[in-house]
C-alpha cells in the first residue's frame, strides 16, 4: 500500500495552509495568543507567554515543511498530535463549562455562551479532520510534488 500520492499532496497543502495561516495570525499578535492560552485555563498562567510564542513558531515550521514536502512522515505525525491536543483543549473547556473563543486563528478569550455546543462541536470536528490528514501523511508519506521520495 502506498496510499494515494495525489490525495497525499492535497493533505499536505491543506494542512500547510491551515498551519501557516494559524501561526501567521498568532505571531503577529503574541499577546492575543497568550490571552487565548490563558482562556483555556489548562496551563499555569506563567506558562502562557512562552507558549504564546512557541505555538505559532511550531505551526509555521510544520506548515513550511508540509508545504514543500520535507520530513513529511514526521511533520504529519506532529501536526496530527497538535490537532488532537487542540481537540482535547476545546473538549476540556467545554466540559468545565467555560465559554471561550478557541483562538485557533488569532483572537481568543472568553465569549458569550450563546451557541456554545454548536461552535465547540464544529471546532472539534474540523480539528479531527485535520488530524486525520496528518495521520494519513504519517502512514503514507509519499506524495506528489514533494522534495523527498520516501
Amino acid at each position: 500500500m502506498k496510499g494515494n500520492p495525489a490525495f497525499g499532496l492535497v493533505s499536505r497543502l491543506v494542512l500547510a495552509g491551515v498551519l501557516l495561516y494559524a501561526g501567521g495570525v498568532k505571531i503577529m499578535e503574541p499577546h492575543g495568543a497568550r490571552d487565548a492560552i490563558l482562556a483555556y485555563r489548562v496551563f499555569p498562567p506563567s506558562w502562557a507567554p512562552v507558549l504564546g510564542y512557541a505555538m505559532p513558531l511550531l505551526e509555521i515550521g510544520l506548515g513550511l515543511l508540509l508545504l514543500v514536502g520535507l520530513f513529511t512522515r514526521l511533520s504529519g505525525l506532529v501536526a496530527a498530535l497538535l490537532m488532537l491536543a487542540f481537540v482535547a483543549g476545546i473538549a476540556s473547556v467545554w466540559a468545565r463549562g467555560y465559554s471561550i473563543d478557541c483562538g485557533c486563528f488569532g483572537g481568543g478569550g472568553d465569549i458569550s455562551p450563546q451557541g456554545r455546543a454548536v461552535r465547540y462541536s464544529l471546532e472539534i470536528a474540523r480539528d479531527l479532520l485535520f488530524a486525520g490528514l496528518g495521520f494519513w501523511l504519517f502512514v503514507w508519506p509519499r506524495t506528489l510534488l514533494s522534495l523527498e521520495k520516501n
Binding site: 498562567p45 515543511l65 465559554s99 478569550g109 521520495k149
Partner: protein
C-alpha cells in the same frame, strides 16, 4: 546473444539502478539537511517579531496614581454595595468581576446577569468589586484607530473612575454597557459624556465629570488595575471570582444559577 552477455547486461542494469538509488538517497539527505536548516532559520527570524512586539507592554504599577473615591491600592477595584461595611461583612461572599468595557461577552453577561448582581450587592447580600481591565486596547488597536477612537477601553475606564467620584458608579456602569457599540467601534469623550447624562449626571456633577475625563485624571489608575489583571493571570473577561474561586461561564451568565452560587457561598 549468449547467456553470459545477458547476465552481464542484467548486472550492469542493476548496478546502474543501485547507483541511481544511492544518488537519490544522497540528494535527499542534502535536501533534508538544507531544507531543515532553512526552516529553522525562518523560525529563528520569526522569533524576532514577538520580541519586537513584546516591547509595547503596559506600564508597571504607578503607586502615585490618583484613585477614584473609595478605591484602595491593595486591589484598585471599585467596591459596590453596603455589605463591605456591614457588621457581618466577613460572612458575606465577595465577587470580583473582571471586565473590559469593550468586551462583547462582558456586554452580553451584563445584559443577562448585571441587574441580578447589582440587586444582590445593593441588598447587602454580596460584596461586589468591579475590577476594570483594558487588555482589548492592544487587540482592537487597528479597529479603534480606524474609527478615530484609539484606546477606548482606557478612556471608558477613566470615565468610569470619574463617574465613581460623582457617586454614579452603578448607573454609569450599567449605562456604559447598555450603550456598548459593536466590538472595535470604541468610545470617544463625547460618547462617554452622553453615557454620563443617561446615567443621570447633570449640572455641576456633569461638569466635574467632563473635566475629569478631559484631564484623563484616572489613566494611572486604569493602568494599575490592568497591571493587577496581568499579574494575577486572569484568564479572560468577563471573569467572576466568587470567594476566590472562578465561576464557570454557565453560572456567571445565568442569573438564577449565579444567585444560587452566591447563596451557597453565603452559608459557608
Amino acid at each position: 546473444m549468449g547467456k553470459e552477455s545477458a547476465k552481464a547486461a542484467k548486472a550492469a542494469a542493476e548496478a546502474a539502478r543501485a547507483q541511481a538509488n544511492a544518488q537519490e538517497r544522497s540528494r535527499e539527505r542534502k535536501v533534508r539537511l538544507i531544507g531543515g536548516l532553512v526552516v529553522l532559520v525562518i523560525m529563528g527570524g520569526l522569533l524576532a517579531i514577538p520580541i519586537i512586539n513584546g516591547k509595547n507592554k503596559g506600564p508597571a504599577t504607578n503607586t502615585a496614581a490618583a484613585l477614584p473615591k473609595g478605591v484602595t491600592k491593595d486591589t484598585y477595584g471599585v467596591k459596590i454595595g453596603p455589605a463591605w461595611t456591614a457588621a457581618n461583612a466577613d460572612s458575606i461572599p465577595t465577587l470580583q468581576l473582571w471586565e473590559d468595557f469593550q468586551c462583547p461577552a462582558c456586554g452580553d453577561m451584563e445584559k443577562r446577569s448585571g441587574a441580578k448582581i447589582l440587586e444582590l450587592a445593593d441588598a447587602g447580600k454580596l460584596r461586589l468589586e468591579w475590577r476594570p481591565t483594558i487588555f482589548l486596547d492592544s487587540n482592537l488597536q487597528a479597529q479603534n484607530t480606524a474609527n478615530n477612537k484609539p484606546n477606548s477601553s482606557l478612556r471608558a475606564t477613566v470615565a468610569f473612575g470619574c463617574a465613581v467620584d460623582q457617586d454614579a458608579a452603578e448607573k454609569f456602569h450599567s449605562a456604559l454597557f447598555a450603550a456598548q457599540p459593536a466590538e472595535g467601534k470604541g468610545y470617544n469623550n463625547s460618547d462617554l459624556t452622553v453615557v454620563a447624562q443617561s446615567a443621570g449626571l447633570t449640572g455641576e456633577k456633569l461638569t466635574k465629570f467632563m473635566e475629569c475625563i478631559t484631564n484623563k485624571t484616572y489613566e494611572g489608575w486604569a493602568n494599575n488595575s490592568f497591571d493587577q489583571y496581568s499579574k494575577q493571570g486572569i484568564a479572560g473577561t468577563p471573569s467572576g471570582i466568587l470567594n476566590g474561586t472562578e465561576l464557570q461561564s454557565g453560572v456567571l451568565f445565568d442569573p438564577a444559577k449565579l444567585e444560587q452560587a452566591i447563596a451557597d457561598a453565603t452559608k459557608k
